[in-house]
């Protein structure tokens, strides 16, 4: 995130033997540098909050293409399948994990989900995952945690390409290049991805994954004025075009509709980094990003339908890091954000919705002894459209000895109401003409409909409509790490998140004719808690094992209160109503109580092979007994194991080949996992034309 001024060596990225030296968090020495946890460069071993680093080597060896591919193999992360591929962290919905590229937030969420398939892994140096509320540094959305993608910026003259081809005509081509001349550095990256898509539903022309073409390019220029000042400019552009064939079976007659969806992501950053002296570093960053999505649907016998959404986000931020002495350092910053959105799903697409946010944060890190670190920080966000948010955080780490350390943190995270929850003005004429109005619109529109006699009844929730408040979470993480012997490392983390003011859509009124009107309210009080653990063991220089497990409990406090008060019912074997017992309650939908992963890896010189298992226990999918919450009588998706494998070899002269097979067991679930194809294969060829290390 911060420019690495004469700091960390990035040279090993282009070492010829890419497989051998790098390591991920668990096998690491603790010397890997992580920036996301504190917004400053720190050794991972000295960070007081739960952090995972996924290395470039790990991404390559898993044969990943898009960000979701590699994240699904991480302990405690589950990839959801609605509105693209979102990540569920510590049991919280994808809405509550902030996704950053080089420290800058990505925007453009649909239904709260940021589709991780928009992000190629072709130029990632490492992925940093910070769990637990991090709003004290990052503001909105960093409620469950933060995923920061650090892109590869080699400081050498290099040129390499990689080509992968696999099942469903899925092709992925990446080109990386960098030039270093005197004080000027340029890095360029291009990635082209296409797939024919697939459907596992028999006899269906609709595809769970539609044919997609994506083109991502990223350019980074940096100029070093002197040893103290560096300017860098970063551009990223991602274009997606998706073809959808939608068929509606109408009494035996199939009506085909052709849809075309175009998504565009543009990110630009200008950063000036200046080191005033040994103790003070200042960073000024201007970031502007735009996400636009356009959907066109042409029915063979109908009128064309267009759906359009555009979001813009611009931010100026200044951050100063003070290293006061060996024991005390301080980070302060302030920024201003302007965010706008236009959509055909708002009152008028020409009406731009705007929110402005001013914020400031401060964080201090104090090391009273070598073994003890305390980090305290807070951030204040002032919003134009809704209530302000104050997010404090306190974390500490204590190293009992070189083998054993303990970390604990407590923090507050928030997520601001999004434009959809404020301004949506959408009526679904294809499905019963129900309407969903954002809270700003709802009272206005319903009052007007009521005046002209189009409302048949106002529900009790209508009278509870008010200014939306941000959703808040308080997260506690207590973790330990234990390295009894060099080849064995064990980490465990207990977490607890209490979420208040959760925004949920509620029925607020009925139109005459029975159509329902929904809006958004701060109504729910949810919790997630559990434990996650990772164990890594190197059997020998060639063989290593790694395993991870997460146990998760979730629930809604109001639902539990209603159950305890005997107000919730289910049905017995005769179909008669019975009172729901607390033990029958399963908590939030789409959560597995048990998730695990296991990896066996073999490495010898330039050759590697691995086998990776991902397990997920059953999860609730729909409310079969109609009581409005999830209990053992409802519909569940079966638990399953996915097994992936990959093998590869580096040849001299910069040639690398790799082949893999994902989902070897060919597990499919048409109803609940439409995005999981059966067994797939791929082959990768990569070639490094040029790699000249330059002198600093």
């Amino acid at each position: 995130m911060l420019l690495r001024i004469g700091g960390v060596s990035l040279g090993l990225l282009f070492s010829v033997n890419l497989w051998s030296q790098q390591s991920d968090t668990l096998s690491g020495t603790g010397n890997e540098i992580v920036v996301t946890a504190t917004k400053t460069e720190r050794k991972i071993s000295s960070v007081a909050v739960p952090v995972t680093i996924i290395s470039q080597q790990r991404i390559l060896q898993a044969g990943s293409l898009r960000l979701n591919d590699i994240l699904q193999e991480q302990t405690g992360l589950f990839l959801t399948a609605a509105f693209g591929s979102g990540v569920q962290m510590q049991g919280l919905n994808p809405d509550y994990t902030l996704i950053l590229i080089d420290g800058e937030p990505l925007i453009g969420r649909t239904g709260g989900v940021l589709d991780l398939k928009r992000i190629t892994v072709g130029n990632i140096k490492q992925i940093e995952i910070v769990k637990g509320p991090s709003s004290s540094l990052y503001g909105s959305e960093a409620m469950a945690g933060v995923i920061n993608i650090i892109t590869d910026k080699p400081k050498s003259n290099a040129l390499k390409f990689s080509l992968r081809y696999g099942s469903f005509n899925t092709a992925d081509l990446s080109l990386n290049g960098s030039i270093r001349k005197n004080n000027f550095t340029y890095q360029g990256f291009g990635n082209f991805y296409k797939t024919d898509g697939f459907s596992i539903r028999p006899n269906s022309s609709e595809r769970a994954i539609a044919p997609i073409e994506r083109f991502t390019q990223q350019h980074n220029f940096s100029y070093r004025f002197n040893n103290k000042t560096v300017l860098s400019i970063n551009l990223r552009l991602n274009n997606e075009s998706i073809k959808n064939i939608i068929s509606v079976n109408n009494n035996g007659t199939i009506i085909q509709s052709e849809g075309l969806e175009k998504n565009k992501d543009l990110n630009t950053t200008v950063q000036l980094s200046h080191r005033l002296n040994e103790k003070i570093t200042n960073n000024t960053r201007i970031y502007a990003t735009e996400f636009s999505a356009e959907q066109q649907l042409l029915t063979s016998n109908g009128t064309p339908y267009t759906d359009f959404f555009k979001q813009r986000f611009a931010r100026a931020e200044n951050q100063t890091d003070f290293t006061l002495n060996k024991k005390l350092s301080l980070t302060t910053g302030a920024g201003y954000i302007i965010e706008t959105a236009n959509s055909t799903r708002y009152d008028k697409s020409s009406n731009t919705k705007t929110n402005r946010i001013g914020y400031a944060f401060i964080q201090s890190e104090w090391k009273p002894t070598d073994a003890f670190t305390i980090v305290a920080g807070a951030r204040y966000d002032h919003n134009e459209l809704f209530a302000a948010a104050f997010s404090p955080k306190l974390a500490f780490q204590y190293k009992f000895n070189p083998k054993f350390s303990l970390k604990a943190s407590i923090g507050r995270g928030f997520k601001a109401p999004d434009f959809r929850q404020l301004y949506l003005n959408f009526t679904n004429t294809a499905a019963g003409s129900y309407s969903v109005f954002g809270t700003v619109e709802a009272q206005k529109i319903i009052a007007e409909l009521n005046r002209i006699g189009q409302i048949s009844s106002l529900e009790s929730d209508y009278y509870r409509l008010s200014e939306l408040k941000p959703e808040f979470a308080t997260g506690i993480n207590i973790g330990l790490s234990y390295n009894p012997i060099t080849p064995l490392s064990i980490t465990a983390n207990i977490f607890s998140n209490t979420i208040e003011n959760l925004i949920d859509s509620r029925l607020v009124a009925y139109k005459t004719g029975g159509a329902q009107i929904f809006s958004y309210l701060n109504v729910k009080h949810a919790f997630t808690k559990g434990i996650e653990t990772d164990i890594k063991y190197a059997l020998s220089k060639k063989w290593s094992l790694a395993g991870g497990y997460q146990f998760l409990l979730t629930g809604d406090k109001d639902e539990i209160n209603r159950i305890n008060n005997g107000q919730v019912f289910t049905r017995d074997a005769n179909g008669f109503s019975s009172k729901l017992k607390r033990s029958e309650y399963v908590g939030l939908a789409n959560r597995s109580k048990h998730m695990a992963n296991f990896r066996v890896q073999f490495e010898q010189q330039n050759y590697f092979a691995n086998l990776r298992l991902i397990y997920r226990s059953k999860w609730a999918v729909s409310d079969k007994d109609g009581n409005g919450l999830f209990n053992t009588n409802d519909a569940f998706a079966d638990g399953f194991i996915q097994v992936n494998m990959a093998t590869g070899k580096n040849f001299n002269k910069g040639i690398r080949v790799q082949a893999g097979c994902d989902n070897i067991l060919n597990y499919t679930d048409v109803l609940n996992l439409p995005n999981l194809p059966g067994r797939t294969f791929y082959f990768t060829l990569a070639y490094t034309f040029l790699n000249t290390k330059t002198k600093q």
Binding site: N251, T299, F569, A573, S577, S578, G628, V670
Partner: protein, 216 residues
């Protein structure tokens, strides 16, 4: 629900269990299960595609039922006091107000069928007092059912008892058990054709208090 041994057809008497320890002199109240009451079943689908077409429809006729005599009532008797409740799709009406000549009515009690031993004194019975007003609220999650839009299924809400004031001013309690033929809700993965063809068949159980008291 397959385990339940029911006699198919109307008038399947399951149990006669009532507690009458209050000594009011009332006769024991039977609980009767009615299965597969056809309520305006689907006869076709409108031409075209949604939103203008593609909607399944029935003949538009209510199925009338007498709780007192535990039998169907011909629709030619719809303007009489012979029926107590009637079914059409998800709509359930009482013989009152705009829908019938009698002084019927109903309200939805939240709780267990077996726990409703006496109708609370402060209960207020609603009547069909306008063309669009229902004594038993219509619509998903308002009265007796919830619509699962994801799987296109109608599920009766558990813990809902329809307390009915009959055409003759007596009281009955009704629990809707299922909305599909044979009392079995199709699987979520079932085809639309199965979901369409098996819906609008009510399975319900009821107790009718013939002595006019509010105790079951």
């Amino acid at each position: 629900m397959k385990k339940a041994i029911w006699v198919i057809g109307f008038m399947a008497v399951l149990a006669a269990c009532s507690k009458d320890d209050k000594g009011t002199g009332s006769i024991p109240v039977e609980t009767i299960t009615v299965k597969d009451l056809a309520a305006d079943t689907i006869i076709g689908i409108t031409p075209g595609a949604p939103p203008t077409g593609g909607m399944p429809f029935g003949a538009g006729k209510y199925s009338f039922y007498s709780l007192e005599s535990n039998q169907m009532v011909a629709s030619s008797d719809s303007a009489s006091n012979k029926w107590d409740i009637a079914f059409r799709g998800t709509s359930i009406i009482t013989n009152s107000g705009n829908r019938g000549p009698a002084a019927g009515g109903a309200f939805v009690y939240i709780g267990l069928f077996s726990d409703l031993k006496t109708i609370p004194k402060d209960s207020s019975f609603k009547v069909e007092n306008a063309p669009t007003a229902f004594a038993i609220p219509s619509g998903s999650n308002r009265g007796w059912y919830v619509y699962d839009g994801l799987n296109n299924l109608i599920n009766p809400i558990p813990g809902r008892v329809l307390v009915i004031r009959t055409a003759s001013g007596k009281y009955a309690k009704v629990e809707i058990l299922n909305y599909y033929k044979g009392g079995i809700t199709p699987a979520a993965s079932a085809s639309d054709a199965i979901k369409t063809n098996t819906q609008r068949y009510y399975t319900f159980r009821f107790s009718y208090q013939s002595n006019g008291s509010t105790t079951f």
